[in-house]
């Protein structure tokens, strides 16, 4: 046990805020929509035409897993799920930037669409904005004890 465990801190404000309430409730909803659509897309692509573009379809499946993890971790509200949420959202950010850039620069090597193709153009660029919202929200709800109470915004 370290001092960073939310459970051992006595102060009411010391524990991190839940990531699943307030704005987080809506954020989880949007993540859920993307978890669903990315899964459906990947499932369809892999089931019907995986051999056509294995790399793109594998990336599609990967993005689906990332969205599912982010959705679940944010919905769980924090605690042990918080690092999972951070990781998932960071991977999501790297994913949309990397896949977006590659799909724009080397369209020929990227014949098939993923949620992240062209920075999520097919989804109104929401996939590009979403990880930034996720990171901002995780930062906003972070624990005081995680950061030794320095510069915390406890705007209750």
């Amino acid at each position: 046990m370290t001092g960073t465990e939310p459970h051992v801190t006595a102060g009411r404000l010391a524990a991190p805020a839940s990531t699943s309430s307030g704005p987080g409730r809506a954020l989880v909803g949007v993540y859920g929509v993307f978890a669903l659509s990315a899964s459906a897309r990947a499932g369809y692509q892999i089931a019907t035409k995986f051999a056509e573009a294995p790399l793109a379809y594998a990336l599609s499946a990967f993005s689906a897993v990332v969205y599912i993890l982010a959705t679940v971790a944010l919905a769980k509200g924090g605690g042990r799920w918080r690092p999972v949420a951070w990781s998932a959202v960071l991977v999501e950010l790297v994913g949309v930037l990397a896949v977006g850039t590659v799909s724009v620069l080397a369209a020929g090597d990227f014949p098939a669409k993923t949620v992240w193709s062209a920075y999520g153009q097919g989804y109104g660029y929401v996939p590009l904005v979403l990880p930034f919202l996720g990171l901002a929200w995780l930062w906003h709800t972070r624990s005081r004890s995680d950061h030794h109470a320095s510069g915390t915004v406890a705007d209750q």
Partner: protein, 119 residues
């Protein structure tokens, strides 16, 4: 697909979205009556799904079955899941969530029509 039913889905879902957006502006949480509104949309969606399956089985429509089925299923799931998730939250953010769900439902109808070949 069935034109009038699709139109009904889009109109009802968008009406629900506007209602939710109004609640966002008024800083209000989702109310039970909105969930009933969602249930009405859901009832039309179920009827549409059954009709679409019959039409595909008859050979009347020939969309890419896996793709079409995926969209039908996603569309059926979104409002019920959103209703449960939104109703636990008693702030305006539940209305934001409900707006996203209703709008997505309408958008998926548009995609369904594209896949069916009507658009």
């Amino acid at each position: 697909m069935i034109g009038p039913v699709s139109l009904l889905v889009v109109v009802l879902a968008l009406a629900l979205a506007v209602w939710a957006l109004w609640f966002v502006i008024r800083d209000r949480a989702v109310i039970l009556r909105q969930l009933w509104g969602g249930a009405v949309v859901e009832a039309v969606l179920v009827a549409q799904a059954v009709a679409a399956i019959v039409l595909v089985a008859n050979g009347t429509g020939s969309p890419d079955r896996a793709l079409f089925g995926g969209y039908i299923l996603s569309q059926l799931l979104i409002l019920p899941l959103a209703a449960v998730w939104a109703f636990e939250e008693r702030t305006r953010w539940s209305s934001v969530l409900f707006f996203v769900a209703a709008f997505t439902t309408a958008f998926l109808e548009y995609r369904l029509l594209q896949i069916w070949g009507s658009l």
